[in-house]
Amino acid sequence: MRRLVFLLPIAIVAILVAIFWVGLDPERDKSVLPSALVGKTAPVVDLPGLADGAQRLTLGQFKGQLVAINFFASWCLPCRAEHPLLEQITAEFGVPVIGVAWKDKPEASRAFLQELGDPYVATGADRNGRTGIDFGITGVPETFLVGADGTVLYRFAGPLSPEGLRNELAPAIAEAKQ
């Protein structure tokens, strides 16, 4: 019994070391915040359509199917870099991608899509960035998966790369489809 008392401090230190070991993982990307939204119902999206005369973009239109939401902007260089991969999300995985032009002039977003191609099934203009804030984005680009029931399933912060698409987004899509 007395022995156990002496072991107690060692046990406490061991537990603390374990906690800090996980918490201070040098591999951890400190710029990516844990999303507060995953597992919750997606925020309301109700934005003017980007194209001239397009109808308003709402998430309700896509109820009952798995969709990806991609926040982008014409002024954002990483968005340019990830752009070719967005088409793959639809082509390879059959998931439609909704575009939200975040804090961008509509004419600039339109020119951006005209130049690089339009991978989106529908696009809305979030001029004051409020929808982005509702999703808790820290910048553009960010990509979310929203399930058939309207629950946010996954968040990818930053530009998609071929590796990111294959190793992170693809498994998340596979899991969402189950």
């Binding site: 710029s31 960035g129 804030i133």
Partner: protein, 161 residues
Amino acid sequence: MRRALALLAVGWLAIAPALVQEALAQEAQLADPQLEQRARDLGREIRCVVCQSQSVADSDADIAQELRVLIREQIAAGRSDQEIRDYLVARYGDFVLFDPPFKASTYVLWIGPFAILVLAAIGVAIFFRRRVEEPARASELSADEHSRVKRLLHDGPEDRV
């Protein structure tokens, strides 16, 4: 040369706060100075989510600016500071607050140091109590042991059998 550098530094220090003020002045402010003060105080508690070591009030980032506008809007709409904090935490998580909340997942952070201090104090107390008790045990020796101690002190080590 050194003097010129020092002068430059002093000059910069004098100008820098004015520049920050200028950035703030370009934004629409609340007409009521008391509400505006609340918005600024709140902005200092909220972490800028891209430039994470800066507060929303200090940051020039796009999103920080948008969050400042949002805080002002909500204050103007009559929301309380706590409601605005909750609004931001719902979107960005506790991380957005510079002052981490007291809840189950942060108990270790808040209580840990004090718990360790208390445990250490108890440990030290036990250690010293033992030391005080130790000499008293000498009287607990049996008569046989007493004579052996005496013999040892007098004659030196016993021969091993």
